[in-house]
Each structure stands twice: as structure tokens, then as C-alpha cells.
């Protein structure tokens, strides 16, 4: 269970909600309403007052790097620091399985990142985010650059992550995908309205 308790992200109303294991919370709202800021605050990448608790442990009780290994933020445009994807994924177990799950050729791992397409980079970014099996996935537009086929595979991967017991917080502009994946949704209106998670009829 991921518990957000009175989290005060700058520019957003104080937020409280829960994401149980195996479930997905969709965060929705217009551009600039603070979806990314919320995800970053949960990963403790930006300072925010309030409490974020994962399985009974508040984020300040563990060193920040350890927290982010458990609570993983994945940006819409993954950034890379080495030349090839393999250098970023060296320690990842089950790499082959993840690659084939997203329809990627393993040869891509050794090509220079700069030569890959946006969609390939986004899928490799998703693999990098899930490879070391974090407990929580904070996915910021994980399928924005993917064609329908690749996006469907990515959706399958996310669903599989939930089945494996992970919690997912998803930001996506694809209403149908959200409807298929999300168990609850959180609407960020951009105004100072109190935000609370509303259950959606499945």
C-alpha cells in the first residue's frame, strides 16, 4: 500500500490518497495542473511537506536513494547518460524477457542511444524503470511516443507489473488506456480545489 497523507506539493492543494498493491491510480488533469510535480514529489525528487508511506515506512525513514529504488519515477522522455542502452541496463535481470515483451530487438541495446527512435527510447526507458523491480511505479505518460501496437504491449507490461504486486500511479492522456488500467482516478483541476481519489466503476 502506498499512502499519501496531506502531501503539499507547491502549487497544488494538499493531497491524501492510497494506492493498494496490484492497483493503478490514474492522475488526470490539464497540462500544467501539476501531474508531473505530484509524481516527482512522491519519488522525493522535489521537496514537499506531508507524508508518503510505502508499506508502513515513511519516505524520510529510509535514505533517499533506497526510497527511489522502491518508488520509481519514470519520465515521459527518459534521459540517458551513457552511449548505449546496455550500459544503463547492465545489472538488469530478465532483460531479454522485458525486451521481447515490448517487441524490442536485443540488438538495440548496443546501438548508440542517439540513433534510436523516440519510441524505442521510451520503451527502453520503461524497461529501465521496471527492471530492478521497484514496489511502486510512477509512470509519466509511458506510451506518449508509441504507435498503437507498441502502446498495447506497454499496457500489457504495466498490467503484468500490477499482477506481480506493484502499485502504479499513471499519468496518461489516453482516456481509453486509463479506463482499462486504472482502479481509481485523481483529478487535478489546476485550481485550489481539494483533490481526492475517486473510485471508478470498473
Amino acid at each position: 500500500m502506498l499512502r499519501i497523507d496531506n502531501l503539499r506539493v507547491p502549487g497544488l492543494p494538499a493531497l491524501s490518497f492510497e494506492v493498494p498493491a496490484q492497483e493503478c491510480l490514474a492522475v488526470e488533469g490539464p497540462s500544467g495542473s501539476g501531474k508531473t510535480r505530484l509524481l516527482r514529489a512522491i519519488a522525493d525528487l522535489d521537496p514537499a511537506e506531508g507524508y508518503v508511506t510505502l508499506e508502513g515506512v515513511e519516505r524520510r525513514e529510509v535514505p533517499a536513494p533506497e526510497w527511489r529504488r522502491r518508488v520509481r519515477y519514470a519520465s515521459a522522455e527518459p534521459a540517458w547518460w551513457a552511449r548505449t542502452a546496455r550500459e544503463h541496463l547492465a545489472a538488469a535481470p530478465k532483460l531479454d524477457r522485458l525486451l521481447s515483451a515490448l517487441g524490442l530487438d536485443p540488438a538495440l541495446l548496443d546501438r548508440p542511444i542517439a540513433e534510436l527512435s523516440t519510441g524505442e527510447r521510451q520503451r527502453l526507458g520503461l524497461i529501465r524503470a521496471v527492471a530492478d523491480e521497484p514496489r511502486v511505479l510512477l509512470l509519466d505518460e509511458p506510451t506518449s511516443a508509441l504507435d498503437p501496437q507498441a502502446a498495447a504491449l506497454a499496457e500489457e507490461l504495466i498490467r503484468f507489473q500490477m499482477l506481480a504486486g506493484r502499485m502504479v500511479v499513471l499519468v496518461s492522456h489516453d482516456a481509453q488506456r486509463v479506463a482499462r488500467l486504472a482502479h481509481a482516478r485523481l483529478l487535478l483541476a489546476g485550481a485550489a480545489r481539494p483533490g481526492t481519489a475517486q473510485s471508478v466503476a470498473a
Binding site: A43, P47, E66, R128
Partner: protein, 271 residues
């Protein structure tokens, strides 16, 4: 053998060259004559003052006076480091403090090492040795530290996404900064490497020139210059390391977050 003392007349003769410059400026409408004159007067006043101050301090040969001058030198050098940054740490005292701490650490250690262990004058704080060497070390370390901080802050801004990606994947702040840190340190030490490679071929370094003119044996002067180059390089490496590490820690926080909000772009462009 010692140097020929220069009389005021000799200096006046040298100043004629400046008059030539002024004439060229007037003739070609360069409008440099005022700044030339101001700069020349500043130079004369500053150097004369330094000469007098050093003469006084050398005569005292007191550890307190030596320390006082050294503190002033470090303070001015630290100020210069913070002035040279395009991006300053928000709150200019941080910037100033980092520059000063780094120069004090690297410059102070290198100078003490050179004077006390290598040269070994009697007494060990002899201002005739400590102050000129500290001056050279600070002048050179100042450049290294500025380069390290400049490269670090630029790199952190340009590679913000990569740094944050590493943090998000569970890297510590120093791991996330490692590439930028490495580049900052390389940039800072490279000028010294170049300087060592061409020393004596392309350039005859200032200290050696001075000693030769003052009547020293060129072979002895070369030995001093070799020692100085080694000390300067050591100080540059130490200064670059301290500045880059300190800068990286200031651009992040205890929760291993990238804090570029602590960086203020200097828009007034004070230089």
C-alpha cells in the same frame, strides 16, 4: 651579482611606451586613451603599494603579519572566484564561501607544503618565501577553481535530465553528478598540464625570469620554477576536487535531490 636598481627616471623612460600607445589610440580614434591612463595609474599605485607593504612585512618577519597578509590575499582571491561565475549559488555568500574555503584549503596546503617541507626557510613562516609563493598558488588555483565551478554549474544545467534520471533510479547525488564532476576536474587541471608541457619552450615563466634578472644562477632559477610548477599543479588538482565536490553538494541536498533552484543566473553581468 644583483639586479640593477631602477631609478624613477628609468620608470619614466618605460612610461614613454605608454605615451606611444596613447598617441596611437588618438591617431586612430580607438578611444582607449582614458582607459589606458586609468589602468596605468592603477597598476602603478597597486604595485607600488604592494611593494611598500611587502617591504614592511618582510622587515617585521612576524608570523602575525604574514598571516594577516595571507588572509587578505585568500579573501580577495575568493571574491574573484565568485565574481567570475556566470551562475552563482543563490545567496552570494555561499558562492563566496565556497571559493574561499576551496582556495584556503588547496592554496594553503600547497603553500605550506612548498615552503615548510620543500624550501624549509628559517623561520618557516618567513614572509619572503610564504607570500610570493602563496600569491602564485592563489593566482593559479583561482583559475582552476573558477573553471571547475563554471564547468560544474553549466554541466548540471545542461545535463539536468540525465542527473535526475540517475537519481530517480536510486543513484546517490555523487553518483548522479559523477560525469559532470569528472569533466569539471579535467577542465580545471588541463591548463596546468598545458602550461607544464610548454614551460621553458614557448614561455619563460615569470618567476624564473624574475630570478634570472635579479642575478640568480639560471640553473637555480630553473629548479625553483620546477618546484613552483609542481606545487601549482598539485594545488590546482586539489582546488578543482574541492570546488567540484563542494559545488555538487551545494547543487543537491541531503535527500539526494538536484537543487538547481540554488543557482542564480547572474543577469546583471557584473563582468
Amino acid at each position: 651579482m644583483s639586479a640593477i636598481d631602477l631609478s624613477l627616471l628609468d620608470l619614466g623612460l618605460a612610461a614613454l611606451l605608454l605615451v606611444v600607445n596613447g598617441a596611437i589610440s588618438l591617431a586612430f580614434g580607438l578611444r582607449l586613451e582614458t582607459s589606458l591612463a586609468v589602468a596605468a595609474v592603477r597598476m602603478v599605485v597597486q604595485l607600488a603599494a604592494v611593494g611598500l607593504v611587502l617591504k614592511f612585512v618582510f622587515a617585521q618577519s612576524s608570523p602575525l603579519w604574514t598571516l594577516a597578509i595571507a588572509v587578505v590575499m585568500v579573501a580577495v582571491a575568493g571574491w574573484e572566484v565568485s565574481q567570475r561565475q556566470e551562475r552563482r549559488f543563490a545567496g552570494r555568500w555561499w558562492s563566496y564561501g565556497l571559493g574561499n574555503a576551496t582556495l584556503l584549503l588547496a592554496g594553503g596546503l600547497a603553500t605550506l607544503y612548498a615552503v615548510v617541507l620543500v624550501i624549509g626557510p628559517e623561520p618557516w613562516y618567513a614572509p619572503r618565501y610564504v607570500l610570493p609563493i602563496l600569491g602564485m598558488v592563489l593566482g593559479s588555483t583561482l583559475t582552476s577553481v573558477s573553471l571547475a565551478l563554471q564547468t560544474l554549474t553549466e554541466g548540471a544545467e545542461r545535463e539536468r535530465a540525465a542527473i535526475e534520471a540517475r537519481l530517480a533510479l536510486g543513484a546517490t547525488r555523487l553518483e548522479a553528478f559523477s560525469d559532470v564532476l569528472r569533466r569539471a576536474m579535467r577542465m580545471a587541471v588541463t591548463p596546468l598540464v598545458n602550461q607544464m608541457s610548454v614551460a621553458g619552450i614557448v614561455t619563460l615563466p615569470g618567476m624564473m625570469t624574475g630570478q634570472i634578472v635579479a642575478g640568480a644562477d639560471p640553473a637555480e632559477a630553473a629548479k625553483y620554477q620546477i618546484m613552483i610548477m609542481l606545487v601549482l599543479t598539485g594545488a590546482a588538482g586539489l582546488g578543482a576536487l574541492a570546488a567540484a565536490l563542494g559545488g555538487a553538494l551545494m547543487l543537491s541536498d541531503g535527500r539526494h535531490r538536484l537543487r538547481l533552484d540554488r543557482l542564480a543566473f547572474d543577469r546583471q553581468g557584473s563582468r
